[in-house]
C-alpha cells in the first residue's frame, strides 16, 4: 500500500551519485535537496511512518482508546485466526470482491480503451466522459446514488418493470448486495482505461499492418500482438487495482449503513476493522486486523511480481 510506494520512492530519491569529498561536505552539498524534500519527509515520518509503527505496537495490546493500552502479546492475532467467525466472514467477502471486481474492471477498461483507440474523432471528449465515474468513484454521493439505483423501487427495477419483471431490492438482499458493489467498482474503470489507452498507442501500427498482410485475423492479432506488448501495462493495472480493491471501504459503509449487512454480505475487511475500532472500542484488535491486511496485500503484490516472468514481456 502507501508505505511500500513511499519507501521505494525514498530509496530512489535518496540515491543520487555520491559526490567526491568529505562526508560533511557531501552533506552540505546535498542540504538544499533535503530541504526541498523536507515537507514530504516530515509528513511521511509524522503522518505515515510514525502512526504505522504505533499501530504495530498497538496490535499487541488491549486498547480501548479511553484507557491506556496494556500489552497482551500475540493474543489479538491468535483470536483472529482461531475464534473470530466475523474475521473469516470479512475475509470471504473481501476476497470474493477482489476476485470478481479486479478482472472484470480490467477487461472492461481494456475493451473501452481499444474501442477508443480506433482513431475516432473527439477522442479527448470521450476519454473525459469515460473517466468521469472514476473521479466521483469512491465518494459518498455515488454510493448513495447506487442505493437509489438498486433499491426496491430504484431505476433498475423500473426498467425491469417495463418487461414485467418484479426485481428484488438488489442492494439490501444478501444474495445480490455484494454484486451491486462489484458493478459499482467495475463502473469506475476510468483510470485503468486511460493507462491502457496510453499503452495501446505505444504499439507500432506497422506490426498490425504486417500481420494483416500475412492474413492474421483480428482475434489472432489481439492475442499475438496487443496482449503481449500491453502486458507491462496490464501488470501495472493489475497490481494497483488489486490493492485498491482490498482497501475498498466507502461503498460498503454507505450502502449498508456501516453494518456490513444484510447478514454480513457486504462486510468488507476494512469495514470490519472500522467497526472493531470505532464501534466497539477495540483499537488493539483493529490494529492487528490492519497489519494482517498489510501482509495480505504485500503477499499479493509480491506474488504478482514473481509471476511477471511468465507472462509480462518487456521490449528490451
Amino acid at each position: 500500500m502507501n508505505i511500500t510506494r513511499h519507501v521505494t520512492a525514498s530509496v530512489v530519491a535518496g540515491g543520487p551519485p555520491r559526490p567526491a569529498g568529505g562526508r560533511q561536505g557531501a552533506f552540505f552539498r546535498n542540504l538544499p535537496g533535503y530541504l526541498f524534500l523536507s515537507p514530504w519527509l516530515i509528513g511521511f515520518l509524522c503522518l505515515t511512518l510514525g502512526p504505522a509503527l504505533v499501530s504495530l505496537y498497538l496490535s499487541f495490546t488491549d486498547y480501548d482508546l479511553l484507557q491506556s493500552p496494556h500489552f497482551v502479546g500475540a493474543a489479538n492475532y491468535v483470536r483472529m485466526m482461531t475464534e473470530d467467525p466475523k474475521f473469516s466472514a470479512a475475509m470471504r467477502v473481501t476476497f470474493l470482491f477482489v476476485a470478481l471486481s479486479v478482472p472484470l474492471k480490467l477487461i472492461f477498461a481494456l475493451a473501452v480503451a481499444m474501442a477508443l483507440n480506433r482513431g475516432l474523432k473527439g477522442l479527448t471528449f470521450y476519454r473525459a466522459i469515460f473517466y468521469l465515474p472514476s473521479l466521483l468513484g469512491s465518494s459518498v454521493a455515488i454510493a448513495v446514488l447506487w442505493r437509489q439505483l438498486f433499491a426496491a423501487d430504484g431505476l433498475i427495477n423500473s426498467i425491469l418493470g417495463v418487461f414485467g419483471i418484479e426485481g428484488p431490492s438488489w442492494i439490501s438482499n444478501p444474495n445480490y448486495s455484494l454484486y451491486t458493489l462489484v458493478v459499482l467498482s467495475v463502473w469506475q474503470f476510468g483510470s485503468p482505461m486511460i493507462i491502457f489507452l496510453a499503452g495501446l498507442r505505444q504499439i507500432p501500427t506497422d506490426m498490425y499492418e504486417a500481420a494483416s498482410l500475412d492474413g492474421a485475423s483480428a482475434v489472432r492479432q489481439f492475442f499475438r500482438i496487443t496482449l503481449p506488448l500491453l502486458s507491462p501495462v496490464i501488470f501495472f493495472n493489475l497490481v494497483i487495482q488489486t490493492i485498491e480493491a482490498f482497501k475498498a471501504f466507502t461503498p460498503a459503509f454507505i450502502v449498508s449503513g456501516g453494518t456490513g449487512g444484510p447478514i454480513n454480505s457486504t462486510l468488507f475487511y476494512t469495514l470490519y476493522l472500522y467497526q472493531e475500532a470505532f464501534g466497539y472500542f477495540r483499537m488493539g484488535y483493529a490494529s492487528a486486523l490492519a497489519w494482517v491486511l498489510v501482509v495480505i496485500i504485500a503477499a499479493f503484490t509480491a506474488l504478482s511480481f514473481l509471476s511477471t516472468r511468465y507472462w509480462v514481456h518487456y521490449d528490451d
Binding site: 480501548d64 482508546l65 479511553l66 484507557q67 442505493r147 433499491a151 426496491a152 423501487d153 428484488p168 431490492s169 442492494i171 439490501s172 438482499n173 444478501p174 449503513g257 456501516g258 453494518t259 449487512g261 444484510p262 447478514i263 454480513n264 467497526q275 475500532a277 470505532f278 464501534g279 466497539y280 472500542f281
Partner: protein
C-alpha cells in the same frame, strides 16, 4: 470525515485580520474562561444551539464558548479519538447508549456535587435524574425525554379499512390488524407494518412485557433462547401473512429518518423514539400519528422514559464549573432552554415544558401529548446495558435478518443469538 466547525472567534479573527488588526483578532472578546462544546445533529439543531450559546455568552460575560457540530456517524470516532488524546471538548452531547461506556471508562465527570448549585435540575424528578446516572452517579443533564412509540399514517390505515393500533393494543391485536390491512390494501409494495424483528427497542418492550429484559442487573443477558425464538416466530407469522414489509425492503432501513420504510412509502407504521417524530412529519406529505408500542397481553408495562440525549462534562475539563453552568443554561434556564425548544425531545423540567407549550406547532404538540398519554403504560428504567451491548445489538440485527431471509429458523436463530451474545458479553 466532514465536520462543520463553528468558531466565531476565529471568524472574528479572520475578519479583523482583513482590516489589519490580525494581532488582536483572537482577543475580540475579553473572556476569562474558554470552553468548547460539541454535539451531533442537523442544521436546525445547530442554529438553535448557536443562538442559545450566544445568549449564554451575554448572560455570562466571562465565559466564551466555542461550539462545534457534526453528523452522528462522524461524531463518535472523533469524540473517542479526542478523549484518547486528552483534548475532548468541555461539554459533550452524550447519548444514552454510550454514556455507560464513557462514564465507566472515566471519561466523564460525575455531576452530583454540582446538583442544587450550578446545576439546578432537581425538578427533573428522580426518574429523569436516574436515567442520566451510571452506577449511582449523575453523569449528564437530560436534554429531552423520549420514549419508543409507533409512528403511523392514519389515512393509509383508513384506506385499508382497519382501525390503526393505539395505546394498549396487544401484540396479538397488532398482528391481526396488520394481516387485515394486507387484505384491505390495494397499493403495490405497501404493507401495514415495518418488520420489527430486528428492532431492538421493540424487542426490549416485548421482553419487558413478558417480565424479562435485554440485560439483567449484573450485566448478563436478560432473556433466553426460547424468548428470542418466540419473538422471531411472531414476525415469521407477520411476514408470511404480508403484514409487514419483506426482508429486502426492511434491510434498507438504517435507523435514520430518510431511510425509514414509512418515509420511503413501503409501509403505514414504523417504530421510532418520540423525538424523531417532528423530523418524520417534515418529510411526510400526510399528517402522521404517534402512539404507544404494542403491549403484551396481561403483561408488565413495555414502555419507559429515557433521555433522548444529555449534556455531559469531560472528566479532564479545565473549567468544569463553566461547562456545568452552560449545561444548566441550556436545559433549565428559560433564556437558553426556550431557544433549544423541543428539537432534542420533550424537556424534562415541567416549568420549561409549560413555558414552551403555547408556541408549539402541531407535530411538537403531538409529541408532548404522546409522552403524557404514555404515562400509564410506563414501567421502571431497565438495567444499564453492559459493555459490549452495542456489539450484541449488531448480532441481534444479523440474526433477525438470517431468520427473515429464511437462512435460519426462529428456533435456530434464538439459539445462535443467545450463544453469540453471551460470548460477546464475556469478552466485554
Amino acid at each position: 470525515m466532514s465536520s462543520f466547525v463553528i468558531n466565531r472567534r476565529h471568524f472574528l479573527g479572520a475578519s479583523a485580520g482583513v482590516v489589519g488588526l490580525s494581532m488582536f483578532g483572537g482577543a475580540a472578546r475579553a473572556a476569562e474562561t474558554d470552553i468548547r462544546m460539541v454535539w451531533w445533529g442537523s442544521e436546525e439543531r445547530a442554529n438553535r444551539t448557536n443562538a442559545a450559546i450566544e445568549a449564554f455568552e451575554q448572560a455570562f460575560a466571562n465565559v466564551a464558548v466555542e461550539g462545534e457540530y457534526m453528523g452522528w456517524g462522524d461524531y463518535w470516532p472523533r469524540l473517542a479519538t479526542q478523549i484518547a488524546g486528552g483534548n475532548a471538548p468541555d461539554l459533550i452531547q452524550m447519548d444514552y447508549r454510550y454514556v455507560f461506556e464513557y462514564a465507566r471508562r472515566g471519561a466523564l465527570l460525575p455531576l452530583d456535587s454540582y446538583l442544587g448549585n450550578e446545576l439546578k435540575i432537581e425538578d427533573f424528578g428522580t426518574a429523569n435524574l436516574e436515567s442520566c446516572s451510571v452506577d449511582g452517579k449523575l453523569y449528564g443533564a437530560n436534554v429531552g425525554v423520549n420514549a419508543i412509540g409507533l409512528i403511523l399514517d392514519p389515512s393509509a390505515w383508513e384506506n385499508a379499512g382497519v382501525e390503526p393500533p393505539t395505546y394498549g393494543t396487544t401484540w396479538e391485536d397488532y398482528i391481526e390488524k396488520c394481516l387485515a390491512f394486507a387484505k384491505g390494501n390495494d397499493r403495490k409494495r405497501f404493507y401495514a407494518s415495518v418488520d420489527g424483528s430486528g428492532k431492538e427497542a421493540l424487542f426490549e418492550g416485548w421482553l419487558r412485557g413478558r417480565g424479562k429484559s435485554l440485560y439483567s442487573e449484573d450485566g448478563k443477558l436478560g432473556y433466553d433462547a426460547k424468548d428470542a425464538a418466540d419473538w422471531f416466530a411472531m414476525w415469521v407469522e407477520m411476514r408470511k401473512g404480508g403484514g409487514c414489509v419483506p426482508p429486502d425492503i426492511q434491510a434498507l432501513d438504517k435507523e435514520s429518518v430518510e431511510n425509514s420504510p414509512l418515509i420511503l412509502g413501503y409501509c403505514a407504521t414504523d417504530s421510532i423514539t418520540s423525538n424523531k417524530f417532528v423530523a418524520f412529519q417534515k418529510l411526510s406529505k400526510v399528517p402522521l400519528g404517534l402512539t404507544a408500542q404494542p403491549v403484551v397481553k396481561d403483561g408488565n408495562p413495555s414502555s419507559y422514559l429515557k433521555p433522548s440525549q444529555m449534556f455531559s462534562v469531560y472528566a479532564k475539563s479545565k473549567a468544569p464549573e463553566a461547562a456545568v453552568e452552560l449545561a444548566n443554561f441550556l436545559v433549565r434556564d428559560p433564556r437558553g432552554a426556550l431557544i433549544l425548544g423541543m428539537e432534542r425531545g420533550v424537556p424534562a423540567s415541567p416549568a420549561i415544558r409549560d413555558a414552551l407549550m403555547p408556541d408549539l406547532d402541531e407535530a411538537s404538540r403531538k409529541v408532548v401529548d404522546f409522552i403524557s398519554k404514555l404515562t400509564p403504560y410506563v414501567g421502571p428504567l431497565p438495567p444499564a446495558p453492559p459493555q459490549g451491548a452495542g456489539e450484541v445489538y449488531n448480532v441481534f440485527m444479523r440474526v433477525s435478518q438470517e431468520v427473515a431471509f429464511e437462512a435460519s429458523s426462529p428456533e435456530k436463530g434464538g439459539e445462535s443469538l443467545v450463544k453469540e451474545a453471551n460470548s460477546v458479553l464475556q469478552r466485554g
